[in-house]
């Protein structure tokens, strides 16, 4: 199961993406970059959770 932190980051990325078209043109890059950062954080968080759960299983 995907961890809650990764889901939170994905939700934040989606929110930023929704805001991109309504952001004024000179600041659009910022909202878009923030969305990308949140996607990276979501992937990192999911991978971290996955490796921890694997470690947990191998300990047993």
């Amino acid at each position: 199961m995907m961890d809650r932190r990764a889901l939170f980051f994905l939700g934040s990325a989606a929110l930023c993406l929704v805001l991109v078209p309504v952001t004024p043109a000179d600041l659009r890059w910022f909202t878009l970059a923030l969305a990308v950062v949140y996607v990276v954080l979501a992937i990192g968080s999911a991978l971290d959770n996955w490796s921890r759960s694997r470690e947990g299983r191998s300990d047993h």
């Binding site: 932190r5 934040s12 805001l19 309504v22 004024p24 600041l27 923030l34 950062v37 954080l41």
Partner: protein, 331 residues
Amino acid sequence: MQTLALWLVVGVALAFDFVNGFHDAANSIATVVSTRVLSPRFAVAWAAFFNFVAFLVFGTHVADTIANDVVQQNVISIGLIFAALVGAITWSLITFFLGLPTSSSHALIGGMAGAAVAKAGFGVLVWEGLRTIAVFIVVAPLAGLAASFILMIVVMWSVHRSEKVEPLNRGFRRMQLVSAGAYSLGHGANDAQKTMGVILALLIATGEVSKGSDVPLWVVLSAHTAIALGTLTGGWRIVKTMGSKLTRLKPVSGVCAESAAAGMLFFTSAYGVPVSTTHTITGGIVGVGASQRLAAVRWGVARRVVWAWAFTIPGAAIMAAAAYGIVSVFS
């Protein structure tokens, strides 16, 4: 008579700025006080100093946005600005008693919009400017959250092999002075400029300064003095009151949260975007909490911030519209 009314409303705007400093002081000094890096008295003086000197570092882009990009200049009058301030103050007081972490900046913008709509309808709103402000109501805390999360991860990766824990803690305790100072600088830059913007709009409307002119120096100095005095007066009391209620952030978390929020405030001040300083530091604190585990975050507080996002501008707008209705009877 008009001159007297003008100075009276300038006084109300500066009082609003003073209360802003009074109310928000704890945001910038909570961590340095809770980790005993500075005594409350020195911490308050530290924050007030950086609130004041912000005008030397940043321009007046935020003030220009407030003066020109919220409502059309031709509808602004002394009565309208007075109603806007009354609406913002009333909304702030109501939410204070309800315990909602509202933003005085958003209340001010909502107040200006509400009073203008009551006077001349929706056509006088500057939608482009309001759209930027609305987008950054959401983006600023999210950016603060992401930046503080990344900073925490970088710091944890950098120091996790270190066995010299005590020198590290001492180092971060000292760094808190820098991060708290930076946050106070950003707070002074963004929040004091909102008051400058209101006063500038008022001076243009009454013909005291011409349209397109820079913010007069006396306005800059008085706005920064008001917010610094508010910090100096209120911060001391609030820290004493909060005493045991302060969140026990570790020095490293405090440094990351404040640095992230300060970076966001510097960025938005440079671009002239008015944002909520309280919501930005809240995002920073949620970010450091989320770097430990999601359950470490007090989601109840985060939820209340989201409610405040949704309701502050329309709430303050309704209050200001009602205030304008009363003001227009007497004018």
